[in-house]
């Protein structure tokens, strides 16, 4: 009871709280108080940048020149922006899918493989279907989404019928996907490029026909906004709304937070989680289609074409704390890092160092909310009475009565 006095008392009475009480409660609320996280993030980013600078100078580079190269490669010109944004679209699609599956509690971490499967199905549709222009693009995207969605759905089935851990199965399926794509582009009757003359065949497909590629919007000199980016942003907004404003989103969120309560409230937890997995896989598949059909790559199916977009997209969702809208700026940041990183590597800084810098920045963004949450939890554990605040002295008296009765 002594501890009860240390707790901000929620105001009494059902009529409505006064402003002080509300303010106090907001401060107690772990979900709010974002300024703390923001300040901590600024600090950690500064530390990460300092560490990066140190690393670059230790390995014989110049931090300022490197920073300049990063900037030049990603943001300095419309052409640089074009490159950055081409990476942003698939990153964002993967991230939105990761948000959906993480919110449902069925964690999908196999996006890297699902991106490849999406590209595989997309390539098949683009190369094998004889359809007129726009219809062909749509069928490439649809085939990629459905194929990768079904691929991720396999993990849901494994969980449903054999209790296989979803995290483990989605991740291991990635390696299977890599082998499948490799098989497809090494097998002439599947997707390997056709023989022209007497050259040796590479493990890759024919280039997608012009009509199956995703075109860019508008004709700005140098700056191109690819249709894929528009698609990704629309997807992010739609899923953000669906999660926050629909019955489906409500149930999904509830399932993630408490499967028992969700089942109790009438949710078919397994079916909903399986659907979330399939959606997440489908969006990763769409990302794969973008890698195939937008000007980011060679427009061919190639074994390494996923470019770690699947893993990086997961990180985007992690930094955006599973919020699809927040994922948009985070994906832009990651796209910029990616484009800048490639440019930096081209100037002679070792590529592994670029990866280290990227990883440091990710850590800087991810760590503060987690650490602050942990500190809060520990503080709460130290004050057990915080969950049962006394409303007024009269109740404290009753508490004492209860004690004597018990």
């Amino acid at each position: 009871m002594a501890a009860a006095t240390t707790v901000a008392a929620p105001p009494t009475g059902p009529s409505g709280p006064d402003a002080t009480g509300r303010r106090l409660l907001r401060r107690l609320n772990p979900g709010v108080g974002g300024w703390q996280v923001a300040a901590a993030t600024a600090a950690t980013v500064a530390v990460a940048l300092a560490l990066s600078a140190l690393l670059i100078s230790v390995t014989g580079g110049s931090p300022t020149a490197s920073a300049k190269a990063m900037y030049q490669g990603s943001m300095a010109s419309p052409a640089a922006w074009t490159t950055s944004l081409l990476y942003v679209a698939p990153l964002l699609l993967v991230a939105v899918g990761a948000c959906v599956s993480a919110r449902s509690g069925f964690f999908n971490i196999g996006q890297e493989g699902q991106v490849l499967i999406g590209a595989l199905f997309g390539a098949w549709a683009g190369l094998r279907l004889a359809l007129p222009g726009p219809l062909l693009v749509v069928s490439v995207l649809a085939a990629a989404a459905v194929g990768a969605g079904a691929w991720a759905g396999l993990s849901a089935l494994m969980y449903r019928f054999r209790g296989v851990n979803v995290v483990v199965s989605t991740m291991l399926m990635t390696f299977l996907a890599q082998q499948l794509v490799s098989f497809a582009v090494n097998t002439p009757w599947l997707l390997q490029e056709s023989r022209l003359g007497r050259g040796t065949l590479s493990p890759q497909s024919n280039p997608l026909p012009e009509g199956a590629r995703i075109s860019s919007l508008g004709e700005y000199p140098n700056l191109q906004i690819n249709g894929g980016l528009v698609l990704a942003i629309v997807v992010a907004v739609v899923f953000s709304l669906a999660l926050a404003r629909t019955r489906w989103g409500f149930r999904l969120t509830m399932t993630g937070l408490s499967p028992a309560a969700a089942r109790h409230a009438g949710v078919r937890v397994g079916a909903l989680g399986g659907m979330a997995l399939a959606i997440s896989g489908g969006l990763a598949g769409l990302a794969g289609a973008l890698l195939l059909a937008s000007p980011v790559g060679t427009n061919r199916l190639q074994p390494g074409m996923s470019l770690n977009i699947g893993w990086d997209g997961l990180l985007v969702a992690l930094v955006a704390r599973n919020n699809p809208l927040l994922a948009i700026p985070v994906a832009v940041l990651f796209g910029v890092l990616r484009a800048g990183g490639s440019f930096l590597a081209a100037t002679g800084v070792p590529p592994f160092l670029v990866d280290v810098v990227k990883a440091l920045l990710v850590l800087a963004f991810v760590a503060p909310p987690v650490v602050i949450g942990m500190l809060r939890k520990r503080r709460r554990a130290g004050e057990p009475a915080t969950t049962t605040p006394a409303t007024d002295p009269a109740v404290s008296k009753q508490d004492a009565m209860e004690g004597s009765l018990a």
Partner: protein
């Protein structure tokens, strides 16, 4: 008693007390356990048995009192010290590591080199000495409950304890396994002059297996004596308490929540309100459990359970914790599906394999562990209030925040839920207010029947009173209320009829007016009435 005192006890407790804040868990407990005897320790939940044993094992430090081993006073600071002093315990919930083998479990915690052959030999030697046949190489997860208990016993006995404590040892055993266990205990006691403390709430067991018995009630010793000189009836009365005091307490708790028609403090069984159809056989039951059976690992947790609750009636389901109440609660929450039997709400059987059907059929539930299935702590008050009836706040699948808030505000006012706003996360509410959220949601759905499982656990007095008023009001409005509780006072104060559950069966149903402590105690203890 005089004859008893001639022997030096193996272990003596004098005036041992332990308080947790204002709660007295043990109140000046005296206990003497002699070598060569099985000493029964009887008491309800919360009577102080476990606290006392935790003190003996060094898990909890006593506030006052002395503990003697033989004639020398001892200090038990840690479980290691307790083990060195020769105090061994077999816990109710086994502390075995399932993927390991028997011998590995037995030597767990030893220091030095692991010697498999020696360990196996020791297991076999102890097993043979006490008649506990077990294969030391078997993996524990392949063993039955009875065999696991043997492993626990071997773990204890190989350290040659002078006092062996068993906490509810038969709760997971079959009849035959229990009989076998008591034979072993008898051997331990007689042949080797050790002392055994047997904690139990099963009267038959205490009567059959112990030499002397101590009854704890509300932390204090209510009775102690030679088992042969007492009767099961006497023990039952001592365990549960005298009738008069029970009634008085029940009335005291029920004093503040006054139903308009009911005189203050009167037990509801004498309630003159028109809505007391307890005895009316023509009213169809709003909630009916028909032969509900649920087995876990072959043992029935719920065993052919039959129970009817009529509209407007409060039925109290009373019993010692761990007799199937938690399972029944989960089943009625839609989280478990019974192996056999049916649940009928409003006269219709409910399809239990699909989630949400119980709610649709009109069954509300205040679950025992509200944090598990009752609420989602990280969602807002409003979201928790509407989560079971989303159809009311959705138009073609789109959620209306405005409608959700309107419903939440209304229910918050109606049920006195104290929260700054409907958007406050439920986590930041007090336990009483969280419980009000659950109750508001369940009652606002207009249920035919309401199940309240331990609805007042962990609440302060104000919230308890509030809960009682709501439950009575619900019954007065024609809702069938099933109150699952281990608190006799609560059941006596609220229920029209009391059904007693023991080992997953209803062992008796009686009107509250006829419920005496002795009859209830006998039923709870598993002795036929």
């Amino acid at each position: 008693m005089n004859v008893d005192d001639q022997l030096t006890p193996a272990l003596t407790l004098r005036g041992v007390s332990k308080r947790y804040g204002p709660v007295v868990a043990c109140d000046a407990v005296d206990l003497a356990v002699r070598p060569g005897e099985i000493h029964g320790l009887l008491g309800e939940n919360g009577a102080g048995k476990s606290t006392l044993m935790k003190i003996l094992l060094g898990l909890v430090h006593r506030d006052t009192g002395t503990i003697l081993r033989g004639t020398e006073p001892i200090e038990i600071d840690s479980p290691q010290v307790a083990a060195d002093l020769g105090l061994g315990m077999v816990h109710q919930h086994f502390s075995l590591i399932e993927p390991l083998t028997v011998w590995e479990n037995v030597i767990l915690g030893d220091t030095g080199r692991v010697d498999r052959a020696a360990a196996c030999a020791q297991v076999e030697q102890v097993a043979q000495r006490y008649g506990l046949p077990i294969d030391p190489l078997a993996r524990v997860d392949r063993l039955s409950a009875g065999e696991r208990q043997r492993v626990e016993l071997i773990k204890c006995l190989r350290r040659d304890p002078s006092v062996l404590i068993l906490d509810e040892p038969t709760s997971v055993l079959t009849q035959a396994e229990s009989a076998e266990l008591f034979t072993v205990l008898r051997r331990v006691v007689q042949a080797e002059n050790r002392a055994v403390i047997l904690i139990s709430h099963k009267l038959a067991e205490i009567m059959a297996a112990t030499d002397r018995v101590t009854v704890l009630r509300r932390g204090a010793v209510a009775f102690h004596g030679t088992t042969a000189d007492t009767t099961a009836q006497e023990l039952a009365r001592q365990m549960v308490g005298r009738d008069v005091s029970l009634r008085a307490e029940g009335a005291a708790l029920g004093l503040l929540p006054v139903e308009p028609q009911s005189p203050a403090g009167a037990p509801p069984s004498t309630d003159p309100a028109g809505a007391a159809p307890a005895a009316d056989p023509t009213t169809p039951a709003a909630l009916r459990l028909r032969g509900v059976t649920l087995r876990v690992g072959g043992l029935p947790v719920l065993d052919d359970l039959h129970l009817d609750v009529a509209p407007g009636e409060i039925v109290g389901l009373y019993g010692v914790e761990g007799n199937g109440q938690a399972t029944l609660g989960e089943l009625l929450s839609g989280l478990l599906v019974p192996d056999e039997g049916a649940v009928e709400v409003g006269g219709r059987p409910v399809e239990l394999t699909r989630p949400g059907t119980l709610h649709e059929a009109g069954l509300g539930i205040v679950p025992e562990d509200r944090h598990h299935s009752g609420v989602v702590l990280d969602m807002s008050v409003a979201e928790n209030l509407v989560m079971k009836s989303l159809a009311g706040v959705c138009t073609r699948g789109v959620l209306s925040r405005r409608r959700m808030h309107r419903i939440a505000r209304r229910q918050m006012a109606e049920f006195n839920i104290v929260a700054p706003s409907p958007d406050t996360p439920l986590r930041s509410l007090s336990g009483g207010n969280q419980q009000r959220v659950v109750l508001a949601r369940e009652l606002s759905a207009g249920p035919k029947a309401l199940v309240a499982a331990q609805p007042t656990h962990g609440l302060d007095v104000g919230a308890i009173e509030d809960m009682y008023v709501r439950l009575r009001q619900a019954a007065a409005e024609g809702v069938a209320v099933l109150l699952i509780s281990t608190e006799l006072e609560e059941v006596m104060a609220l229920a029209d009829r009391i059904a007693v559950i023991s080992s997953g069966r209803i062992v008796g149903v009686l009107p509250t007016a006829e419920a005496t402590a002795e009859r209830l105690g006998m039923l709870v203890g598993g002795v036929a009435h």
